[in-house]
Symmetry: C2
Subunit: 229 residues, 2 copies
Amino acid sequence: VLCAKGIEQSTGRLQTEVAAEAVPGIVAAVLSGPSFAADVVRGLPTALTLAAADPDLGRRLADTLSDRRFRLYWSDDLTGVQLGGAVKNVLAIAAGILDGRQLGASALAALVTRGFAELRRFAQALGGRPETLMGLSGLGDLMLTCGSPLSRNMSLGRALGRGESLEAVLGGRRSVSEGIYTAGIVARLAAERRLDMPIATAVAAIVAGELGVDAAIEGLLARPLKAED
Amino acid sequence: VLCAKGIEQSTGRLQTEVAAEAVPGIVAAVLSGPSFAADVVRGLPTALTLAAADPDLGRRLADTLSDRRFRLYWSDDLTGVQLGGAVKNVLAIAAGILDGRQLGASALAALVTRGFAELRRFAQALGGRPETLMGLSGLGDLMLTCGSPLSRNMSLGRALGRGESLEAVLGGRRSVSEGIYTAGIVARLAAERRLDMPIATAVAAIVAGELGVDAAIEGLLARPLKAED
């Protein structure tokens, strides 16, 4: 059961695809969803998605690993679950930047809403199912990650938003902010498919040192008004 | 341009319907979305939905009322925009209850995710469009309202979650928590249509004094595990 999140930078492959190549014959499932380790350890209620290609295996794993406070819902959408978890880390960096710049809770909610539209557009283009992205491993994890300074990716974004350099932030941490590694490959895969992903693309450019935080924010605010959908 | 949120308790009608009856010939638009008044007054960036039945009017109102920091996206889905704004106030009470009981950020994210599924189910059954509910007036406002103690409905829920009685909470406030008045009619309309809305129904029962907070939480956690979608 794979619990990390990300997309292979050189190939754009998902972890289950990498695992299948590295360990021939492996049957990999994926566990993803809104669950700070601190909450799980304290026995607070959590609900996550357990994805396996074989629905019977998914159900069996969910039954075995669940208890009353740690509830797993099963799914057979390995692609949607993995892409949701990977992309939300990129969006969390953007959310952290807004928060670090003290732009307010209303702006943050708007950013996450528009970011979620990017996440859905991206994951569906790559084969994920819409319902998966609306679920715990998609929207649920996005809300948790973008709503709490406990999140590693959001706290990294906050430091950038406060004006610290990426080098300084990374030098001072031992934890991994997976979104840094995911941003570039998400932007590249989106560009190849001509998907409109202004937020994820801005994060990729900031992380690559090609765009300043203020210029990124101004660029997003300067987009023309339009119909909402 | 109507800015309040709710559903007429005795009839289940939307505000635009009530306005059309009260003021024959009126052309009512609706403004809704994630925007704490305090953020707007301080000139922080906000993005909202402006709905009007006539798309040209919607576009003209959005152009006229927007500036660089207060951005309106237009829509012609009056039903979806009004239902999203009304139901999110009910869900915010539930979010506040979890928060007041200190059940953790992971549980809160799961609750809001499942609550958003209820909101979509309800609004679509009553004629709202799915894309509207995924937008600023639906998901965006839900995230803001359920993510911040500044929200009136969430703070009312927090007081209930900490064990205060509804009478005591209401007696101590001058502001209106619209979700209290919306919960009952949402639960009734959902029951009439046989829509599964366990969270909104629990809030309605709590607000009506028919269900205790602990029993409501236990009831939600005791639901059987299942496939996610």
